[in-house]
Symmetry: C2
């Protein structure tokens, strides 16, 4: 019995003995097609059914147009007869490290909530074309929505990734929740020292069993990057447009989730995308660190998470800065306004922090652009107080980097030197906004 359809659509599917995920041939008034029936939330109407075509796209069909449905393969039989995917000598090995998130979840259509997959391999079953790109092995390491990840999870991800890369993987794909994917991508960028192979983080804004899922294209793009590209960096591969046209390959330290729900929620910040991936090919857009075939990566998990991230606001009190000290934090990243300013009234507290050996890094809550503390009086006062300018780093990236740096340094000069050094592309030598403008322009 169809689990998800209601009303007239349910009645039609029942008449032909069709269940969710069955492979069917549908004869309509406009022609025939073959595909799998995809479940549909009952909040939608009862006049359409959704079919996943062999090319991976989902289409909706109005039941008024349906003449007949023939079941070609039952879903439950498919499960029993599913063949073990054979190792193909002509394809590289790419592990799919699964950490949780929407991409490894499905919608509970009774409640509308999203829950973790009971049978996570289904992710691969649903995208058969992946087997033609790489020999994929499914490597779940934990199952968390990404808002609950911690630096310990970053360590596990980085360690697993380095193990795989150093034992035969051409590249690694990490399935990850989208909420904090850009934090994890930054952490991996710092923890995977001397990385010269592709590591692609991938997620989805809508789960794979939804008609509007972005998981299919994103996963294909990520596996392609890991199996075929010569990118030797940590990247994020997510939808680049609202349609299923292409996915961006974004530098892990230069991207951010910028929308609660859009499929193209991740955008590049202060650095062009490295590439775009369509179903056919990888198109390179800008410079990147090249992969090296026999390279070994070094896992460095030394990180101190006692860093505080503070977005300033007008009229804020310096009391919070004093609390940061008393709570035992070892570092502070400030997302100031404009070119990197804070209210003047908190500068004395900042100065005392620095004098006590607690580094303070200044970034901007505008997110785009580069801080410059030499233009206005407030900036000069901050420099005099001993802050470290975060250059064009995102506040979140500066946060992760300061955690990493504090895992390696105690002394202020060493901290400052490491913070100002470009380690993984997080500081651009120059941002050419003319060459690559984020498109602010509305239609």
């Amino acid at each position: 019995m169809p689990l998800s359809y209601v009303g007239k659509a349910c009645a039609l599917l029942e008449r032909y003995n069709v269940e969710d995920y069955d492979l069917v041939r549908i004869i309509t008034t406009k022609g025939e097609l073959v595909g799998r029936i995809i479940p549909r939330p009952s909040i939608f109407d009862d006049e359409h059914i959704i079919v996943k075509l062999p090319n991976g796209y989902n289409i909706g069909i109005n039941i008024a147009r349906i003449v007949e449905i023939r079941v070609l393969e039952k879903a439950y039989q498919r499960e029993e007869t599913i063949p073990e995917v054979k190792f193909r000598e002509d394809l590289p090995y790419v592990p799919l490290v699964v950490t949780g998130g929407t991409i490894s979840s499905r919608v509970d259509y009774r409640t509308g909530a999203v829950r973790a997959y009971e049978r996570p391999e289904e992710l691969l079953d649903l995208i058969p074309e992946l087997a033609d790109i790489a020999n994929i092995k499914y490597k779940p390491i934990f199952a968390e929505f990404s808002e609950n990840l911690t630096p310990n999870h970053w360590r596990k991800m980085a360690e697993k990734t380095s193990e795989e890369l150093n034992s035969g993987a051409r590249g690694v794909v990490i399935a990850h929740g989208t909420d904090t994917m850009h934090y994890s991508a930054a952490a991996l960028s710092f923890m995977l020292v001397n990385l010269r192979k592709p590591v692609a983080l991938v997620g989805s804004q809508r789960s794979i069993d939804r008609p509007s899922t972005d998981a299919v294209l994103n996963l294909i793009a990520a596996v392609k990057v890991a199996a075929q590209s010569d990118i030797g960096e940590v990247v994020i591969t997510m939808h680049g447009s609202p349609s299923d046209e292409f996915a961006w390959v974004l530098r892990g330290v230069k991207a951010r989730k910028m929308h609660t729900s859009r499929r193209d929620a991740f955008i590049p910040v202060n650095s062009p995308p490295i590439a775009r991936v369509t179903r056919d090919k990888i198109e390179i857009i800008s410079d990147y660190r090249k992969a090296e075939e026999n390279s070994k990566v070094e896992f460095d998990g030394r990180i101190d998470d006692r860093v505080f991230l503070l977005y300033t606001w007008p009229g804020m009190s310096p009391d919070i800065i004093e609390s940061i000290r008393s709570l035992g934090y070892r570092g502070l990243v400030i997302a100031g306004t404009g070119l990197g300013h804070t209210p003047s009234c908190i500068i004395p507290s900042i100065e005392r922090l620095v004098k006590d050996g607690i580094p303070v890094v200044i970034t901007s809550q505008t997110l785009f652009g580069r801080v410059n503390l030499r233009v206005y009086e407030t900036g000069r006062l901050l420099l005099k107080a001993g802050v470290i300018p975060g250059e064009d780093m995102l506040p979140e990236v500066a946060l992760v980097k300061l955690m990493f740096v504090l895992g390696h340094c105690d002394e202020m000069n060493c901290i400052k030197e490491m913070m100002l050094k470009n380690m993984a592309g997080e500081i651009s030598s120059s941002i050419s906004m003319r060459d690559f403008p984020p498109c602010w322009v509305m239609r």
Copy 2:
């Protein structure tokens, strides 16, 4: 003597006895032009001079092309003979309330720093076309760069604006630093109750004495909105593109500074621009609250600034939430991740805050989109803990609104009701991303 030019350009200007701001006729190998000499930072080359043309545009001229320069009017004489601008019966009265910021500053070319104007009326002298749009009076109320503004400054701005509007002003223009302009715009939107006249905040990313200034177009746009439009809201009028093509008219509660230095740094968030203004006209783009000619605005400055803004991060500790309580804050706005999530480990602390009568509002650090706490488990737990969903409000707008609400309510139900009620366009009834996509697309 020219103050700002060096080398060959300096020698040429000295030969013709030209000083900064002199009105000159320049004969070049390509023809003649008339304009004022604009100072130039010495970091640039010595082969060009910059001239402000009568239409307000600045152009650079290669000195190799200059045949002769004739001084038509000395700058210092101009100051002495400056005529009192006559009141024109055919034009409306628009006060220019000046609060500080780059738009009321100039570059100190010796140090490269930006300093406040010594003679602020110069702003109007430099843009003569303003006198053809409105009868403008210069009303300085304080001189602060906007990172140093506080809710007290918001009150002064709102009070002055309401006084002017209730005593004959058709609309009000507020010259303001850009760093926190969107916070002030939100505050004015809430404090100016029953506003039915245009109030335009305007600033500039580069001061008016720079060749690349955005102040001219922005000011013209703001004065046009105040003098000619029937928009009855608080808006931000800033460059809409990197060129001098047009300025956006953005709803004050639906805009944000998104770049440290670009001239088109302000972009609309979760709501289309109200209009765009070119030198010729105001083109309406979307719905707005209409102005009403004989309306009176009510100033309501009741606001409690003891609200904390917290951007969450992976692995953060709940200790900071406990500090917020002990420091005496009365409210907390959280910028969570994705649809409005926080690390699960801080939810018990949030629940205790709410139980103690401290409201907690959830927004998203993605900035774009709407929070939805019903999709994932974390969101449901937050709702159960008693948080108030911030809908599609920016974190900064939710912060200002909670300050305003706490100036009016003590009781949690009242606070919740006011926070969830759309007061000034800060909560959209629905965001049609299809109809108005923020353009994430890179070329």
